[in-house]
Subunit: 221 residues, 2 copies
DNA sequence: CATAAAACAGGCAGATTAGCCGGTTATTCG
DNA sequence: CGAATAACCGGCTAATCTGCCTGTTTTATG
């Protein structure tokens, strides 16, 4: 399994343009650093206060930068939001790959589907996914956000699909089933996250178990 | 199948206190009417602008009432929000029952589980569920909203569970499986709603089909 | 009919936010 | 070294929202 190749390919496909290559000049490096600090602060704002809590003032305060610096990097709020959207999708890919490849290194090449499914469920429980959820829901009612979110979400989905086909050549003839299983896991996991406060851990675990069985059954037919 | 009994029991269990019994005096009836008009306007606000768009000014404008009347019925914004939460859960129960019982009247008593699952998927595509989704996500980051939302969500869940056991006595000995199937459908359907803009209808339909199979399999073991 | 109470109307102040702008410091390059 | 450029600073305005407040109209009651 070309784990390293897979990682590089997916990350390259989703990397935001400002981080295209490492700058060498002090100014640009400092600038990128400040920019990243603001993006991470924006993610914090999303996680703790939702999309409505993602205000320029809050982000500037959390990032410990002046509102002037804020305005220098992101002229308007929507510029910041668009950058946050790209950042979140990139981080989601990065974190999932880190976790999945680590799990794959520990265990063998068997039960790869189970391993990937479990890694996806873990990725759903991260702060990055919480931020993604806020953006996804807000994009449903905010046209400006949706203009930035939907293209990024589609790109993420395409990269995900293409990589699945590339990375599991042994199942290339049943990639339809793989895609279905992936979509299924995505839907179940996000739904479970949404209902966790009411369901509680026990019911969550039972639904997860049932989902794994349904996915496994896809490959035995 | 005592459909009417089921309907009355569930609606009574979830009915908001202000609508406990029909008032007879003009004033109270008019008051309840205005109140309902504001609650429906609030749902409109939620659907079109998200939880952040649920402002007292917007609601008053959509409901075509003065901000004074608004303040008379709901002293603070959180009072309005709490009433909207109860209203939404009540409407969700009501609309689901209307749809499910109508579908059950058309078709026979067979495949009740399939019928209920399909009715649930339809209920997820209503404007009331869109409003519920906004509230559920906002409640994750807004303590004040969560204080009103979580108890209501738990009550809804308890009523749902109890009614399932009451209404399907023929499967009383496998109510664990029924509950699991219900939780599973709830998770899948909400997850699909969330990802529909990216998935598209074809992939949605395939996941729905797979889900139905997994649920059906629960009752054959 | 008179008085009380409920429903309704709309203006005002305080707080918050987005966007904008002139000024300041630090870095780069000729 | 000096000019140009990039990064950064913080105050100002307009708009919006919430909560509160004083009146006005409509309905109920003795």
């Amino acid at each position: 399994m070309p784990g390293s190749t897979m990682q590089k390919r997916m990350l390259a496909a989703m990397r935001p343009t400002p981080l295209a290559d490492e700058p060498v000049r002090w100014q640009q490096r400092k600038s990128a650093q400040t920019r990243l600090k603001m993006l991470e602060a924006a993610v914090d704002c999303l996680v703790s206060g939702g999309y409505a809590g993602l205000t320029t003032a809050q982000v500037a305060e959390r990032a410990a930068v002046s509102r002037g610096a804020m305005h220098h990097h992101f002229a308007t709020r929507i510029d910041l939001v668009a950058a946050v959207v790209d950042h979140i999708f990139y981080q989601r890919i990065r974190l999932f790959l880190d976790d999945y490849l680590a799990a794959m290194a520990q265990r063998g090449d068997e039960e790869l589907i189970d391993l990937a499914t479990q890694a996806h469920w873990r990725s759903v429980q991260t702060r990055e996914y919480a931020a993604y959820l806020e953006l996804a829901v807000a994009a449903r009612t905010d046209p400006e956000l949706n203009a930035a979110f939907e293209p990024a979400a589609r790109r993420y989905d395409e990269v995900w699909t293409a990589e699945m086909i590339e990375s599991f050549p042994q199942w290339r003839d049943q990639w339809h089933a793989m895609k279905l299983g992936s979509d299924f896991a995505i839907a179940v996991h996000s739904g479970l996250l949404l209902h966790r406060p009411v369901f509680g851990q026990d019911r969550i675990d039972m639904v997860l178990k049932l989902s794994m069985q349904a996915i496994s059954a896809l490959y035995k037919s």
